[in-house]
Symmetry: C2
Subunit: 327 residues, 2 copies
């Protein structure tokens, strides 16, 4: 199996991604195609005592940045690591891993990797850290804005497969996000989705969930239309960021609170890291001919190594076959 | 002018509301119709050195509770304080103030108070505390779930009038909540709303705002469809509640963090109170023949007094005339 890895666009630079790939050799059986500045990458790899024949390169310095218009850049930046990498994926890869622009990845997935047969829309399943310590899959989290009920039904099925194969949850609990918990709540679309999910034999549908429970870990999979899903993520980010900024102001308000803050610093930092908005956004782009993995922009080599192991599990699990069977 | 005040359903009990009304006599010129247990209320009022002739009563012990189905209760609980109060409002009141069930108030507004001519849908404008210290008006925050673009345009106009008359903001900054900041972002409905707002001469439209900025105080008025608006409030509540619960766990994790927490307790409590979810939900139900004011369920007498002063300002400002002119 071959994983194509985009070396560009990571906050910590190319070296960190390459080191993560090398570290993964401890356990992985994957071969790699690395897309980015070859000379840099080669220099790091040469120092490592690993089987160099399992790594190929596509050399480029161009990449799609976070502020680029994703669709336009695909056409204009023909040598962007994402474009070259996804084209290679079509030819001979089994999965694609990137820490770069989410918008770029979505556009590339739609226009280069293309949809699986029978999939109405490809969807971004985002892995959300929760209070309980486990992760919840939010699907769709912003890839599809004008969502139809039948699309959301497919998101639910795909999200449930990921919860099973990627998070190793048995019979994952699937909830529909809504502004009320009881059946019959919500707008017309959400009521229609409710009925579709209730009658779908391929998921363990547990009813509506309110956004209040987004971070509690109650659900394994939360199904949303892309607009609401994205609203929920961005509202949560906003609330967290305002609260931490309030705390920062509060703790400098008196001598005693300054001392208190010093003693608490480590604990608060830990919480902040757990829910850091730069880290929300890790996910899997599903319903395409090959799975695309989005790692956090701020991933370090440890996180890259871990992402490679998880990608390998998912590739080996033949996720697309399962999705096709259950749709 | 006469304000009808619902004495029932307040977390702190009837007495607290009655005391708030009595305290307001310091400054208010309003007369009052109090709806609730007359004997209780009379006992408190008799002890106060105020002009008793300015207070009338409607005696009842029944009320619509938070867990009641709002529409059904309107029909079944004929003697509920909300029902009797809103009927009285139709006859001779100028405004209605309640700390009780929001759902009940919305249903009562629609079926008893009824819509102003030319208003497509009445809307709940919620006052949201922000980082900057000022309040932002979210409109609609959950009263209308299947929102059409023309309805949202009206919400924007009504919200802007409230920002002017109730929060005393000049030329209030109106934003449309969306999943991207640039024009052209979002789903079909939101793009349509954008154009309507952009071309409306009666508001100061400033473009899209992302939910990340919900609590920053950037906007005076945030326009949303009721589904998204409610999602945003509930996501924010959820994030705040999870973060405070994480902090609570974290601070008991070591001896030093326990000491730190003791020293910080006051500051954290202050922040928690500022964004307490029980307190979000204060608002004004707009686009009806008379304005309905929803005070926080947890309001104390001071908050009730303040709510009365603000209601008086709005009643005196003839808000409905302004709304009719600008729609």
């Amino acid at each position: 199996m071959k994983l194509v890895v985009d070396l560009m666009g990571a906050d910590l630079g190319v070296e960190e991604v390459v080191n993560g790939v090398c570290d993964s050799f401890e356990k992985t059986k994957l071969n790699f195609i690395l897309v980015g500045p070859k000379e840099n990458a080669q220099r790091i790899i040469n120092k490592r005592n690993i089987d160099h024949s399992r790594i190929e390169f596509i050399d480029t310095n161009e990449f799609i940045e976070n502020h680029d218009d994703p669709v336009r850049s695909l056409r204009r930046k023909k040598n962007a690591s994402l474009v070259l990498g996804l084209e290679k994926l079509n030819e001979e890869g089994d999965g694609f891993l990137s820490t770069g622009s989410t918008g770029g990845l979505l556009a590339g997935g739609i226009f280069i990797t293309k949809r699986l047969k029978n999939v109405k829309r490809a969807t971004l399943a985002t892995l959300v850290p929760t209070r309980s310590g486990s992760q919840t899959i939010l699907v769709d989290s912003g890839a599809v804005v004008d969502t139809k009920p039948e699309m959301q039904e497919q998101f639910a099925v795909m999200g449930s497969v990921v919860a099973e194969k990627y998070l190793n949850k048995k019979n994952p609990k699937v909830y529909l996000v809504n502004i009320g918990a009881e059946e019959g709540k919500g707008d017309i679309r959400t009521k229609e989705v409710y009925q579709l999910l209730k009658n779908n034999p391929n998921i363990n549908f547990c009813g509506n969930i309110e956004p209040r429970d987004f971070l509690t870990g109650k659900a394994d999979v939360i199904v949303a239309d892309g607009f609401s899903g994205n609203m929920m993520i961005k509202s949560t980010e906003g609330a967290a960021s305002v609260l931490f900024s309030e705390i920062k102001t509060a703790v400098t308000s008196s001598f005693f609170s300054k001392i208190g803050a010093l003693l608490l610093k480590k604990s608060l930092k830990k919480i902040k890291d757990k829910y850091d908005y730069k880290k929300v956004g890790a996910g899997i782009f599903l319903g395409l001919n090959k799975p695309l993995f989005k790692a956090h922009g701020s991933s370090d080599r440890e996180a890259i190594k871990f992402a490679i192991y998880k990608a390998e599990e998912l590739i080996n699990s033949n996720i697309n076959n399962t999705i096709e069977e259950r749709l």
